[in-house]
């Protein structure tokens, strides 16, 4: 993504309230670029910082700054996989079995 979109993404993360993990319904309410980034990380089941930088088309340092903010906000967590540092979306341990009402707002 270009620098402008990347800056917007950083601002979107900064302005978020802290959470302890994500529900899928939360995810649907996020701005496009943030949602797509998190979707991508989920499907990859953990990514390395270099992979994230190349996904974002940014320098590793820039990607790391964003990553740290995302960890701070409780969106993702660090996991160790095959002796490598990887990052994965933190799925909230919700026992909420019903669809929250806001799902209907999301798709309207």
């Amino acid at each position: 993504m270009d620098n402008e979109a990347f800056n917007t993404l950083k601002r979107d993360v900064e302005s978020m309230t802290e959470v302890e993990g994500l529900t899928m319904t939360d995810l649907l309410t996020f701005p496009d670029d943030l949602r797509l980034l998190l979707n991508w990380m989920m499907r990859e089941n953990g990514v390395q910082i270099e992979e994230m930088a190349s996904y974002l088309a940014q320098e590793v340092n820039e990607a790391r700054m964003l990553l740290e903010k995302m960890i701070e906000k409780g969106l993702i967590e660090e996991i160790k996989k095959k002796e490598e540092e990887q990052y994965q979306v933190l799925v909230k341990s919700s026992r909420n079995y019903r669809v929250p009402k806001k799902i209907w707002q999301v798709i309207e």
């Binding site: 649907l28 989920m42 499907r43 919700s94 909420n96 079995y97």
Partner: protein, 251 residues
């Protein structure tokens, strides 16, 4: 590369479990190692298609979700139940059919995040080429998670006005979740309908290609989920459609 494929429909009874079981069998016939997870914990059913009874389920997905065992311990190798020579393997991860355990799910729910870890453990632990997820109809945290982590999503609908509306919701959610491949399937199409017309209509409504149009089949109704249709009627037009879908998933 292993692939996670969710089979979903907005409304119930569209043919999810039959489609999942047939795709699993056809993928295994081609030499693939296939896992099938019954995430329909409220109303499990796909074990019936694989001829599995309660005595063969040492553990169920419920045991894993409530921390009683590893998810790989719940997998049952049902390849021999297919009763035809199969190059690959089919493993079923059944949901419990005990009333008390279903009641617990309805009462307490479960930790949805565990599904994600469980799917990954299955892919690695059983060295799977494909993991097929049979879902509960409609949208909830668990079906949304299955959709979000899928490499491909098979959405099934009937040519019914109620299905038309609901399917639009699922298609939109799949787009929002960036699912890489969406395979729309129209099932139980009455013989009186022109399949090409149905296909064109559905594609126009959702702006998305239809992967297959399956006719309503009396033979399939008569089989009544007592087996895998495309293995029992390999030359039937419905079997040809299932094969076409399986080929698309392997591509």
């Amino acid at each position: 590369m292993s692939k996670i494929i969710s089979v979903h429909s907005f409304r119930g009874g569209t043919g999810k479990s039959n489609t999942t079981a047939n795709l699993a069998a056809l993928l295994a016939l081609q030499g693939n190692r296939v896992g099938v997870v019954d995430t329909d914990v409220q109303s499990p059913g796909i074990h019936v298609l694989f001829g599995l009874d309660e005595s063969q389920m040492a553990h169920s997905l419920n045991d894993y979700l409530y921390g009683k065992c590893a998810i790989t311990e719940t997998a049952v190798d049902v390849t021999s139940n297919l009763k035809v020579p199969v190059k690959g393997k089919v493993f079923l991860i059944p949901s419990s059919i005990k009333a008390g355990e279903i009641a617990r799910v309805l009462r307490e729910g479960y930790d949805v995040g565990l599904l994600n870890d469980g799917f990954q453990d299955l892919l690695e632990g059983l060295k799977l080429d494909f993991l097929l997820i049979d879902t509960h109809p409609g949208l909830n945290e668990e079906t949304l998670l299955s959709i979000a982590i899928s490499d491909a999503l098979v959405i099934i609908m009937r040519p019914d006005q109620q299905d038309y509306q609901g399917t639009g919701v699922t298609v939109e959610i799949a787009r929002k979740l960036g699912v890489p491949a969406m395979l729309l399937v129209v099932n139980k199409v009455p013989q009186a309908f022109d399949p090409a017309e149905v296909k064109a209509k559905v594609e126009r409504i959702y702006n998305c290609t239809v992967a297959a149009v399956l006719p309503h089949s009396d033979e399939m109704m008569a089989l009544a989920s007592a087996g895998i249709f495309s293995l029992q009627y390999p030359d039937h037009p419905v079997a040809a459609k299932y094969k076409q879908l399986a080929a698309q998933l392997m591509a």
